[in-house]
């Protein structure tokens, strides 16, 4: 049986990841474990412990192989200023 975590901080693009484990070695919190299958992305063993610094993405040699995603509750909102002004003038 499995359980969905409160956040999925690290999303690997399996097509792009070369399984070099550099993300795992740079993570100061050590949230990853090596994949038992060589060449596959590391396992995000402790997703709740991610502090969202982004060093794994900064260290990754392949653009777009790792996405860092803040939990839904942390997504902020922005709006075009033009729309605010238009609404105010209605």
């Amino acid at each position: 049986m499995m359980e969905m975590p409160a956040a999925n901080p690290i999303i690997f693009d399996k097509g792009k990841c070369i399984g070099c484990n550099r993300c795992m070695e740079i993570c100061q919190v050590d949230i990853f474990l090596p994949n038992p299958e060589k060449g596959k992305p590391p396992i995000v063993a402790y997703p709740g412990e991610c502090w969202y610094c982004g060093c794994c993405v900064m260290e990754c040699p392949v653009e777009g192989a790792i996405e860092l995603r803040h939990p839904l509750m942390n997504r902020v909102h922005w709006v075009e200023k033009k729309l605010l002004l238009e609404q105010a003038n209605k």
Partner: protein
């Protein structure tokens, strides 16, 4: 729940012994700079880090501005003026020694880091002609553009540069090892420090470090009042494994602490309910001086300290009429009139005047170079902004010339917290130090966030380097002393004890951390009472005596988390003891008593506490115990001033 096998070899029964002249505990900014200084002084240096030194620590991912570099060629203020302003701003409850070091040596360290490969100036001429740039040196400044003592920096380049320098100097870097205790001569509390013990975070192997001098470069405590079992990584502003291990082992070893009664209501922070740091609408710090608008697009005016409305954006970066300089940044929350800088009008006043919520940070109408330096340099170089904020928001379509970013909580903060949700922030307590950054324990030095009244990147880097120099001097004239076998065996038994329990009826690290946080919120919240503090302390002691022996960890990773929570438990006791020792309210310490006594003889005193054979020993020290800043600095640092090797 995973059904993977633990992928690393388990080495709980193995032991490794490592010798050094200078042992650096912690590989963040302070630790790296301490190790570099000691290695340059010709010492054999070992640096122990729980994570991965190249990006570890609070500043591992970056930093956008370096405060108080008063000796840079464009600065119009002196180190003395800046330090005095910092002391005055906190009624003296600040670390005059460490902040003078920060002001005096900050620019030296910047040049040093530049030589290592860090970027400290606009070498690519991206901001030529901008008012915040000195076109001759290409240095860029933040906040007060007239006085120019805070530099904008490309801090994402700093930690990797330091790491490279450590390797070049031959420092023995031991990554993935949690330091668990300090070793003292004969195993006696308060005796000379002869090294430390550690445990590998992946294999569980035990380490004994034997050194002539040791430097604590570990973090300030965290997760004391704030904890989320689901998202422990988002509990605090600093990394989740930075919980104040140094404070805990220092207390056990008999080191002196001060200002530990100080805590603030959680604020500009990641603490679970707030939005990502620097990622929501605001106009402080990294985002100074963004415009703030209401939901109709109407701008909230900026005013100077006298309430004069500032109509020109340029005035947001100038001192007020008759003011020498103003200060902003890490530790300036409620500035005194003398250094109070421009600020948007108070939130409550805006609501009274009919401004509509929510508010937004608006870069669209700023001069182009101000917009570009906030979004793209500051947001981009500041810690935790490069990927989660700058790259991700850009990918999702955020355009700073078109979009405005929403503020949360009330006004332009990023969350609202309850009074009992507290943290050690804004110059918190820590190790008490002298002019060599030595503790009361011989051979034990301290730097960065472990010091009392620490704040930012520049403070960590400068005090790290300074402690490294002085620890090296100590190591040169002192012999290596063998550790005490009994002390090591006792520590080994302590760290491995949880492995012997059974999971089905034991307590895990998260359950214990939640219990501590709740206890602290209940008994040591915003307003302190002796009666409550005493009960709270008894609860914590109960956890130590009865609950710790019932804890369990599945693997080395969990064991390390559990040992961290043991440290949080110790730190919580220091905070309770310090709170009990302070009998009156002190605004500068954000310390409120519900049962204050009338005797205010301690109002200008630091209360310094330490532990000796389970007794808490207190003494009072005048807040300005360090004497004349310049005179004493020069007395202890003639070799550095002369430019000797280190």
């Amino acid at each position: 729940m995973y059904d993977y096998k633990w992928p690393y070899p388990l080495e709980y029964d193995k032991e490794e012994i490592i010798n050094a002249d200078v042992l650096v505990l912690g590989g963040g900014i302070a630790g790296c700079m301490a190790a570099i200084a000691a290695a340059r002084a010709g010492q054999k240096v070992v640096l122990v880090e729980k994570g991965a030194t190249k990006r570890s620590g609070a500043g591992g991912s970056g930093c956008d501005h370096w405060e108080s570099a008063a000796t840079n060629p464009c600065s119009k203020v002196t180190p003395e003026e800046l330090t005095q302003a910092m002391l005055h701003d906190n009624e003296g409850f600040n670390n005059g020694i460490s902040h003078y070091i920060e002001c005096r040596e900050g620019y030296d360290r910047l040049l040093d880091i530049e030589k290592m490969g860090g970027k400290i100036r606009d070498t690519e001429d991206e901001f030529v002609g901008a008012e915040f740039r000195d076109d001759e040196t290409k240095l860029m400044f933040a906040y007060d553009y007239e006085n120019r003592f805070t530099l904008r920096i490309w801090g994402t380049t700093f930690k990797p540069a330091m790491y490279k320098e450590l390797k070049r100097l031959g420092v023995n870097i031991v990554n993935r090892v949690m330091v668990t205790s300090l070793l003292t001569e004969g195993g006696a509390q308060g005796a000379r420090c002869v090294g430390a013990t550690g445990i590998h975070t992946r294999t569980g192997k035990f380490y004994i470090f034997n050194a002539k001098a040791s430097i604590i470069c570990m973090s300030r405590p965290s997760r004391v009042w704030l904890f989320s079992a689901e998202l422990p990584g988002l509990c605090e502003f600093r990394p989740p494994q930075c919980v104040g291990d140094g404070h805990a082992m220092g207390w056990r070893a008999g080191a002196e602490f001060t200002m530990m009664e100080k805590s603030v209501r959680a604020e500009f922070s990641a603490a679970g309910r707030s939005y990502p740091p620097y990622g929501a609408g605001n106009n402080h710090n990294t985002w100074y001086a963004a415009s703030i608008i209401d939901s109709r697009g109407k701008e909230i005016p900026y005013a100077d300290r006298d309430g004069n409305i500032l109509t020109d954006v340029k005035d947001r970066f100038r001192p007020a009429r008759g003011q020498k300089f103003f200060m902003k940044g890490g530790s300036i929350d409620y500035p005194k009139y003398e250094i109070e800088g421009p600020e948007t009008l108070p939130f409550s006043k805006m609501i009274e005047q009919g401004y509509k919520l929510p508010f937004y940070a608006d870069l669209t109408a700023l001069p182009e170079e101000e917009r570009r330096v906030i979004w793209g340099m500051m947001v981009g170089q500041e810690g935790k902004t490069n990927v989660p904020i700058y790259k991700n928001y850009t990918k999702e379509g955020f355009d700073p010339s078109k979009h405005v970013l929403q503020c949360y909580g009330t006004g332009w903060t990023s969350a609202s917290f309850l009074p009992q949700e507290r943290q050690l922030f804004g110059l918190p307590g820590g190790f008490f130090n002298d002019w060599t950054l030595s503790t009361n324990i011989q051979g034990l030095y301290v730097a960065g966030d472990a010091l009392y009244a620490s704040n930012c990147y520049g403070h960590a880097a400068t005090t790290g380097y300074y402690a490294g120099r002085h620890a090296a001097k100590y190591a040169i004239v002192n012999d290596l002393i063998q550790w005490d076998t009994q002390q090591v065996e006792k520590e080994k038994a302590r760290v491995y004890a949880p492995l012997k329990n059974e999971p089905h009826n034991s307590i895990g690290w998260k359950e214990l951390n939640m219990a501590i946080a709740k206890t602290m919120q209940n008994y040591c919240g915003e307003v302190k009472y002796d009666d409550l503090l005493k009960i709270g302390l008894a609860r914590l002691k109960e956890y130590e005596e009865k609950i710790i022996p019932q804890t369990f960890a599945y693997n080395p990773h969990e064991l390390v988390r559990l040992l961290e929570v043991s440290n949080i438990l110790t730190v919580s006791q220091i905070i309770m003891e310090a709170s009990l020792a302070r009998k009156i309210s002190v605004d500068a310490l954000c310390f409120k008593r519900g049962d204050a006594i009338e005797d205010d003889s301690s109002k200008d005193k630091l209360i310094v506490i330490r532990q000796q054979e389970n007794e808490v020993i207190k003494r009072e020290v005048p807040v300005d115990f360090f004497g004349d800043l310049k005179e004493n600095y020069e007395k202890y640092n003639q070799d550095y001033i002369r430019g000797d090797r280190s």
